[in-house]
């Protein structure tokens, strides 16, 4: 008997018949050849979140993003006419235009123009080529023909996205669909106290998304993080979501949980009792928020957190005590990716606020380290191909959707090209 109502079909999965219920293969996560196909079919043609508008506070603020999965690097800059994005390449001889010390590392700063380190060619923030060293030595060179190669860029609720596809004209808001629309109005811009973590993970990018779009694993893998009686109780319950919503390539899971404050203080660790904080964040919400309709869609009292996956590699997690978290998964090989987890809080006013946030951030890292290492173990064993078909439960519907969507995009792109 489920604790929370499921759709009339009897399960979340059967509510989406295109997903099927059969065991699945993870060949799409262990094949170097398949990753090459994903590069052009997915990463070179979808809207990718590259950061937040707060990273570009003034005219000339910029940052770079290495998008290895699409084999490029992008500059995102606040120009006089708004946010612009360009391929990070000098039009003269192809040098990477903006970098510091290590060409492969991302950088950020503020400048009045971009100057190539190699021969000093200069570009305005709007991309125009403005200066060529010894211009008279060139042949019929019209500077107007050699501006930086533009990349489509747009922002939604303060999140900056780029799209490397020059032929597609799907607006960002249309791409983000109903799930995106349902989040509009959430005060992301007020949560500017940031902790950002980065890890190189030895697994396919989809396998880590899989780990973070199901909570079936939580009572087991993270059992030791709760005090023992609490842990036994959680394993006894198992895990059931409040709701799942699937919308095109995107999906979300709405979850109960959280302790704000816990009914029984003995359930939590001593430091949590003093700091009033834990994995679900500080117990006391710092500001009042009227949640937009897309958050806690079941309007459940027990609601604790919602996780949204915007295909392909961007997740937003909204937590009941008014903070949020983003995940990015940047593939670098079929069996490797860079994971970024960023926590966003309302700036603290007191030491008590500050330490509550510190505990939430430290707890996040402890969990994520467990998750990341488990994934490396999964990758290695999947690659053995000793077993090739795996069952998925109803609480793992978003995994089914992610792999299904990936296949749809890869097959669809290849049919059209």
């Amino acid at each position: 008997m489920p604790h929370f109502a499921k759709p009339a079909e009897g399960s979340w999965t059967e509510h989406h018949p295109e997903l099927g219920t059969a065991p699945v293969s993870y060949e799409d996560s262990i094949s170097p050849e398949y990753f090459e196909r994903e590069r052009s079919a997915i990463f070179a043609r979808s809207w990718l979140n590259v950061g937040r508008i707060e990273q570009l506070p003034r005219l000339g603020s910029y940052f770079t993003r290495e998008i290895e999965a699409a084999r490029t690097s992008v500059i995102i800059v606040r120009a006089a006419d708004g946010v612009r994005a360009f391929h990070n390449i000098c039009r003269h001889r192809g040098n990477k235009l903006v970098w510091q010390d290590y060409p492969g590392e991302e950088t950020a700063g503020t400048c009045r123009q971009f100057t190539c380190k190699y021969h000093g060619w200069r570009y305005a923030l709007e991309g125009d080529l403005t200066f060529v060293q010894q211009e008279g030595e060139f042949f019929d060179l019209d500077k107007a023909d050699y501006g930086l190669a533009p990349v489509r860029v747009d922002t939604w609720e303060g999140f900056i996205f780029v799209n490397l596809d020059t032929t597609d004209d799907t607006p960002l808001r249309d791409y983000l669909g109903e799930l995106g629309k349902g989040l509009e109005g959430y005060p992301f811009g007020e949560m500017t106290q940031i902790y950002k973590y980065r890890a190189e993970v030895g697994s396919n990018w989809k396998l880590f998304i899989d780990a973070f779009t199901e909570f079936y694993h939580a009572p087991v893998l993270h059992a030791r993080q709760a005090v023992s009686e609490e842990s036994a109780k959680l394993q006894g319950y198992g895990y059931e979501a409040l709701a799942y919503e699937l919308d095109g390539p995107h999906g979300m899971v709405s979850s109960w949980g959280g302790m704000s404050p816990p009914k029984d203080l003995n359930m939590v660790k001593p430091i949590e009792r003093v700091l009033h904080s834990g994995l679900f964040g500080p117990w006391e919400a710092p500001i009042d928020i009227e949640l937009p309709p897309g958050v806690n869609p079941a309007r459940a009292k027990q609601w604790g957190t919602d996780s949204f996956l915007f295909f392909p590699n961007f997740m937003i997690l909204i937590w009941k005590p008014n903070w949020y978290l983003t995940y990015h998964y940047w593939p670098t090989a079929y069996n490797k990716h860079i994971f970024e987890g960023t926590l966003y809080f309302v700036p603290p006013r007191t030491a008590r606020d500050r330490l509550a946030q510190e505990l939430a951030a430290v707890t996040f890292k402890e969990y994520a380290l467990q998750d990341g290492n488990t994934l490396e173990a999964t990758q290695v064993m999947l690659e053995s191909r000793a077993v090739t078909q795996f069952p998925l439960g109803d609480q793992e519907i978003l995994l089914r959707q992610l792999h299904h969507t990936t296949h749809e995009w890869v097959d669809g792109y290849e049919k059209a090209h």
Partner: protein, 114 residues
């Protein structure tokens, strides 16, 4: 030659925590590294001394504007950050590192100034 006692880094009323002043570390990377290179006995001693003073420490720091702390209060706040970090080995793991995390690493690339 007799070495002079090290200058105190914490507010006078937290003199009892001076022996643990080496946990006053500004950056997460330093705190995490110290945790991994410390023995459980060392961390237990630090935890046992600092945990009962956590409420007092917050009350002391909150006498000031969080963004205009005197140096000694800033050091006390850093020490509290370290206490948060060692709470996992002491309260949960019973070992310095996260179980089953093997060679996995996760680095802080952005953290708040205060």
């Amino acid at each position: 030659m007799t070495s002079l006692p090290a200058e105190s880094v914490l507010p006078a009323e937290f003199a009892d925590l001076e022996p643990y002043a080496d946990w006053c570390l500004e950056f997460e990377r330093e705190r995490y590294a110290k945790r991994l290179s410390s023995s459980m006995d060392e961390m237990q001693a630090f935890y046992d001394a600092a945990f009962p003073r956590l409420e007092d420490a917050m009350a002391h720091i909150d006498r000031y504007d969080l963004h205009e702390l005197p140096d000694d209060a800033t050091h006390l706040l850093w020490l509290c950050y370290s206490l948060v970090n060692v709470s996992f080995p002491i309260e949960v793991w019973r070992q310095p590192f996260v179980p089953d995390s093997g060679a996995a690493r996760m680095d802080v690339v952005v953290e708040p100034a205060v």
